[in-house]
């Protein structure tokens, strides 16, 4: 039995700041993320610009703060899409007859044969770039994995003795599914999805980094790094801080996700 440690609280605090940055960025940075200042290009961190400026003299901190909303959207939006569609398919496969199950599972086999990023690139090629399409692309690429996961969970719960006990009590089949199978199959997947948000965020910002996600000048962490790459030799701060924001976010999401998993498995004292 583990108690929540300081690491978990730190991660929760980081996530709270991120949510604040996404909802009300002006509270965290007084600067305009789009304000160009040709006199202040590529300046190192200073009192006026705590994290320095970029090639157009824009404040890097402000761009990171204002970019939070888009970056979180990439992570959470994509996983939401994957969860909803993957979840429905997985439930259908886990609860349906053998034909339904086989069709869905063979389709997901095919989907899993494509690396996530490559499948996302196909979607982008067909549908074009942009934030919304990046969310869609990463989301679609994650559907087969979640379909498998939900199906496996559903089957495991269906075979458990408490479900057999519910049947033996004489509970109608539909009620057993609604009351016992669904909640117990979905809950662990929701917990795992928390960790998946981090991976999806990295994939989404990778698309932006490749110039295929959020287009400039709109601030987004991955697309900032895409430009920063050209100035590595002259402005280390430009390349370091946006990436640190991504890593910090992913670490926090993962720490919280793992803690939730321990909790859902009954291995914690809270």
């Amino acid at each position: 039995m583990k108690r929540p440690g300081p690491g978990l609280w730190l991660a929760v605090a980081v996530l709270a700041v991120l949510v604040l940055a996404a909802v009300a960025p002006h509270l965290l940075s007084a600067q305009d993320p789009l304000a160009v200042d040709s006199a202040q290009t590529l300046r190192p961190p200073s009192a006026a610009h705590p994290l320095g400026t970029d090639e157009n003299g824009r404040d890097v901190l402000a761009r990171i703060v204002y970019g939070t909303r888009t970056s979180l959207l990439l992570g959470f939006g994509a996983i939401a899409i994957a969860l909803v569609f993957g979840g429905l398919l997985g439930l259908a496969a886990g609860l349906g007859n053998r034909v339904v199950e086989n069709v869905i599972m063979r389709l997901s086999d095919i989907g899993l044969a494509f690396p996530e990023l490559l499948l996302a690139l196909v979607v982008i090629t067909v549908a074009g770039g942009g934030t919304a399409n990046a969310v869609l692309a990463i989301g679609v690429a994650n559907i087969p994995g979640y379909a498998r996961l939900v199906r496996a969970q559903t089957l495991a719960v269906r075979r458990s003795s408490y479900v057999e006990a519910a049947h033996a009590l004489g509970l109608p089949g539909r009620r057993v599914i609604l009351r016992h199978v669904l909640p117990n199959a979905v809950k662990p997947v929701l917990v795992l999805a928390t960790i998946g948000v981090g991976t999806a965020l990295v994939a989404g910002s990778a698309l932006s980094f490749l110039g295929l996600g959020t287009p400039p000048p709109e601030p987004e962490w991955g697309s900032m790094l895409s430009t920063a790459r050209n100035f590595i030799s002259r402005a280390w701060w430009y390349g370091v801080f946006p990436g640190a924001a991504i890593t910090l976010t992913v670490i926090s999401v993962t720490v919280v996700g793992r803690a939730l998993r321990l909790r859902s498995e009954g291995r914690t004292s809270w």
């Binding site: 044969a113 494509f114 990023l117 690139l121 090629t125 910002s205 295929l212 993962t254």
Partner: protein, 309 residues
């Protein structure tokens, strides 16, 4: 055993067939004229002659089932169409870049695996602070996107210390940073899985049993525990292929290296659909082959499965 291999081959062929069908659907349900899609969409402004040639080449004036059959037949023969951007057959374009990517992927896979195994063997089941340190390091590198890790490595080693070249794809020195940028996040993920598995195994009664025979700790870890802990890594074959190929796209772009990844990014930007679909089909083929090898390997590592089939 033979039945098992035949069954796996059949399943693999099924997946490839599905993948080919998917590429057909993408080609034909992309909004607008499929011929235009092939050459890069409306923005590409192809001449009517080019469109006519494409229409004839792909049989776009025939009924869909003939087109579908033709599509599959071309793929079976290894004909993935012509790159609009490069004006060369897709297979040739991919073939020219394949070795560079293989080199990078292999270097990264070996580095990642060696790092993960070494760290896990050294730290699993040790004192609390050692485990905490290892877990923290794993979490950090696993959460670091390859493109940022690459930028940090470049900042430090190429522009700060001037030890290694920043770009290019010639010689061993130019391989070090890309391979590291690709390998470290993988090592983080693998290390985490391996250490958890190892810690679980080290708690098993048969390990206590082995220790009670007077074996040394290192012997117990290497001879008894490691083999069990490697099993989950082997089953992560899908992750391996995805991480290495997806990672290659990023690393090759960042380090301006030659390779399939950069070819793909250029093709996506130019809406060069035949190349995109060619690379995707290739990745599905790699996935199927790797899975087949892994399934066979798994039976060697875990002989319990032999009768189960």
């Amino acid at each position: 055993m033979i039945r098992f291999i035949a069954w796996r081959l059949l399943a693999g062929a099924g997946v490839l067939w599905g993948a080919a069908t998917l590429t057909f659907l993408v080609l034909h349900f992309t909004p607008g004229d499929p011929a235009e899609a092939v050459v890069g969409g409306e923005g590409a402004a192809p001449t009517p002659e080019v469109l006519a040639q494409i229409t004839a080449e792909y049989g776009l004036d025939r009924p869909w089932y003939e087109q579908y059959a033709g599509h599959l037949w071309r793929i079976v023969r290894g004909d993935f169409g012509t790159s609009y951007r490069l004006h060369t057959p897709v297979t040739q374009a991919i073939g020219e870049q394949a070795w560079a990517t293989m080199e990078l992927a292999l270097a990264a896979a070996v580095t990642g695996l060696v790092l993960a195994v070494a760290v896990a063997l050294a730290t699993a089941g040790r004192r609390r602070w050692i485990r905490g340190l290892a877990a923290g390091a794993e979490l950090l590198v696993a959460s670091t996107p390859a493109f940022w890790l690459g930028i940090v490595l470049l900042t430090v080693f190429s522009f700060g210390l001037r030890l290694l070249p920043a770009t290019g794809s010639h010689g061993l020195a130019s391989l070090v940073l890309p391979a590291l940028a690709l390998a470290l996040p993988i090592a983080g993920v693998l290390g985490h899985v391996l250490r958890e598995a190892l810690e679980e195994v080290l708690d098993e009664p048969f390990i206590v049993s082995a220790r009670s025979r007077g074996l040394a700790d290192t012997t117990v870890r290497v001879r008894h525990a490691l083999r069990h802990a490697l099993l989950p890594l082997v089953t992560m074959s899908g992750y391996w292929v995805g991480a290495l190929l997806g990672g290659a796209v990023i690393t090759e772009t960042l380090f301006t290296r030659q390779g399939i990844g950069r070819l793909l990014v250029a093709a996506v930007n130019a809406k060069d659909l035949p190349v995109v679909l060619g690379v995707v089909l290739l990745s599905a083929l790699v996935y199927v082959l790797v899975n087949l090898v892994v399934d066979l390997l798994y039976r060697v590592v875990d002989p319990r499965l032999k009768e189960a089939a």
